[in-house]
Subunit: 460 residues, 2 copies
């Protein structure tokens, strides 16, 4: 243990000495757009990050799929030591609404110790920190303390549609003792965090049509159906104003929390007044009778991501619109599945608004790793070493990652170790990452690889 | 009577001989944008159309208001004859969505006997037909058979906010025996039509806000209120899926139909199958138990003109949006008023969603002229002369015009004599007017002025 910490000191000094160079390289990375939803820049960025891994001797390759490619590389030289799979994604969210960005999304800008750019927190700054951790370990020690596989996906932001088949056809290649993902934000308090699971997500679109063209609301109002009213009346049958999803059977497979999970949730702290102040809210959302963290982590949601129909310009326009759509996502918890809930949504729409078209856009099932997994210890130790205090343990995170392919298909424990600040504004304008957290992420990555390597012989 | 018809023959020949020249002049007029909602081109078009009237000896002027100006001109030379006020509006609707226009909205294009351009039917092609009628009468006869006042408004498409005060401060200037407005479409059957009233309209916007920025639906879903859900839940309390407006007291002042109105409604004909076919609809809107024409003309509506919030681009985006708005209009019938119904909407929103901001955008009260007014006769005769068959009599039109300022403030009978085809697509892409109807509008205008002039001594 002391020896491992001693060796780490040298690595940490190396990271500190290269702080400015590492930040410059991060800026170079996030400057490159890679928007999976629009197919922008994907191929170029896959080649780029594959090249970075190759420079570290990872024998990296860009592996084609039926969608955007995976980037995979490995160094398997620590005989007898555990094998760690590092997962991340090199694609980013679309940057709109553009006019709400203070600096353009693909012109990375440092303000007040943060780097502002689309994708800096979600997820480039986080997996790039892992890669720089490997680079720093190799530079200082000449070898990695455990075996490391790196998988970077290009479609996480559109729901990881290729992950299940890619994992299924590459079981041996991806086989490892554990997988670590650094994505999403740390706890609101700023303390480092380990996530043991994720909510799943199901995305779909509802499309309503009226006449074959926009009409005058005076000459046709009262006669011709209005697709916006159709969506309003359909949606209100799907979730009531108490926050309860009213789709038949929606909660059937929601599992009760385990005692360990209840304990962990009870330890989580939040300053509700501060949350409301920082978001400028007077009230939080229903159902208020469930606790903050239960609603956030262990309870399903139904979010309308966007609803658009008819006139949206300045002033008024007396138009009766002829089409409208709603984009929605439902966050799933164990043991709900995307297939199960989509079928329930389908049956509901067919019963309540048969004329509305329902389009499935993608899903990820939820995942959970037991809080008492033996691989939790070296991760807790790494975060404690870097931050000087023990991390918060989250039974599940609110957001979604395709971890179910690791926990349910590859049957390995999966841990989330986020490096980004809580107000990273991922999926929103002015996405940012605190540069100190980026640097600490590099150190955490180096410490995790070191302490997992030190488990040689302890597990199995 | 014969003499009047005889003189008209010469005027009609003159109109036919100038058909191409008149169409060219209409093209020149509609090529000029005059979008009141955006403040585009208004001053230029007011000057232009004032100049056209001046060339006819109408001593026209552009009269400033607190909004866009009025254009007014008059020729009062027919001593002892009635005075006719012609009302129209030189402003047009915004042209978006631009990508649905086959030819650009301000590049007038003739296809299949129709002229396509924003504002050609609503209202430039119609009041320009009246002006060319006066020009033709003057060219053939050297004088007008009745006294004529012309008032062209620049804010009809944004709810005529200045009309009430303008009318109130110019009572003497605008005093007349009747007012005729040519706007909106003729009956679906294509038969010419006289409207004896209009539904009113109240426009407002609902604005909902959540947090102070867009958030990630996974990291915040279940915790932070969603303004789109707020609007869905509010709107569904305002109108149910049976088409009934459920705002307290909404129907209190809806007047029952008079026997004459019931008779007139019963005479109106519609081919429901054809309406559905032409609009590509399988069903019409609720409440189906009320007849087609009652719903269209004599029953209030509640239309969502547009609802926008959150992501609207391609694919999916797991965002929890922070703002959403709905633009709405309510069509009013006698004796509802804009003030009354807005107050009821305000009370409803305050009770059901106090955090939602309600913005009044404008209103026009409904209006009605008795079906047995003596001035109906010369208008019926004019339409019968031009079209060879008696017009349809509509107790009210579905659309809204500021006619209440004529019927309720100036206390004169008001008649709508639309010249545009039923599928003119006013307020929508590909607005158009059949050129034959434009030419017949010129002839109708000339005939109305002639037959009203022939009433000299009959009324008063």
């Amino acid at each position: 243990m002391t020896s491992a910490n001693g060796e780490l000191d040298g690595v940490f000094s190396y990271v500190d000495a290269h702080r400015e160079a590492f930040i410059e390289r991060l800026i170079d990375y996030v400057r490159r757009p890679s928007i999976s939803a629009h197919g922008v820049g994907i191929a170029e960025v896959a080649q780029f990050i594959s090249g970075v891994l190759n420079n570290l001797g990872f024998n990296a390759r860009v592996m084609p799929t039926d969608g955007w490619p995976m980037v995979y590389g490995e160094r398997l030289e620590a005989e007898g030591a555990p094998t760690l799979l590092l997962y991340g994604h090199y694609d980013v969210q679309p940057p709109d609404p553009l006019d709400e960005w203070v600096s353009p999304p693909f012109e990375p800008t440092i303000r007040d110790g943060r780097l502002y750019a689309r994708g800096v927190g979600d997820n480039k700054g986080q997996h790039f920190a892992q890669i720089l951790a490997l680079e720093s370990l190799l530079a200082v020690r000449g070898a990695l303390p455990c075996n490391v596989k790196v998988l970077l996906e290009g479609e996480e932001e559109i729901g990881s549609p290729q992950m299940p088949s890619f994992i299924a056809t590459n079981r041996d290649l991806l086989h490892a003792d554990l997988v670590i993902t650094s994505d999403g934000p740390v706890d609101e308090s700023g303390r480092s965090t380990i996530n043991f699971g994720n909510r799943g997500v199901l995305s779909f679109e509802l499309q309503a049509t009226g006449a074959n063209r926009d009409l005058h609301s005076g000459n046709w109002g009262g006669i011709v159906p209005n697709p916006i009213w159709t969506l309003v009346h359909l949606l209100q049958t799907m979730k009531n104003d108490k926050g309860e999803v009213t789709i038949d059977g929606f909660y059937d497979n929601v599992e009760p929390l385990s005692p360990l999970e209840k304990q962990a949730l009870a330890k989580l702290q939040v300053d509700l007044a501060d949350v409301k102040r920082s978001l400028n809210l007077t009230d939080l959302d229903q159902p208020l009778e469930r606790g903050f963290f239960e609603r956030l982590m262990s309870w399903p949601t139904f979010t309308i991501n966007g609803l658009h129909g008819g006139y949206g310009g300045p002033g008024s326009k007396t138009v009766l619109p002829h089409e409208a759509f709603a984009k929605c996502d439902i966050r799933l918890v164990e043991a709900q599945t995307g297939d199960e809930i989509f079928e329930k949504v389908r049956a509901h729409v067919a019963a309540h608004a048969p004329g509305v078209k329902l389009i499935r856009q993608g899903s990820m099932d939820p995942s959970k790793t037991p809080l008492d997994s033996p691989y939790a210890a070296p991760i807790i130790r790494a975060l404690t070493t870097v931050h000087g205090e023990a991390p918060i343990l989250e039974p599940t995170a609110g957001g979604s990652l395709p971890n179910y392919v690791f926990t349910k298909v590859l049957q390995m424990p999966a841990f989330g170790v986020p490096y980004a600040n809580a107000d990273e504004s991922n999926h929103a304008p002015n996405e940012n990452m605190e540069l100190d957290r980026f640097i600490n992420g590099i150190k955490t990555g180096a410490a995790m690889v070191t302490f997992i390597g030190a488990m040689r012989g302890e597990v199995d």
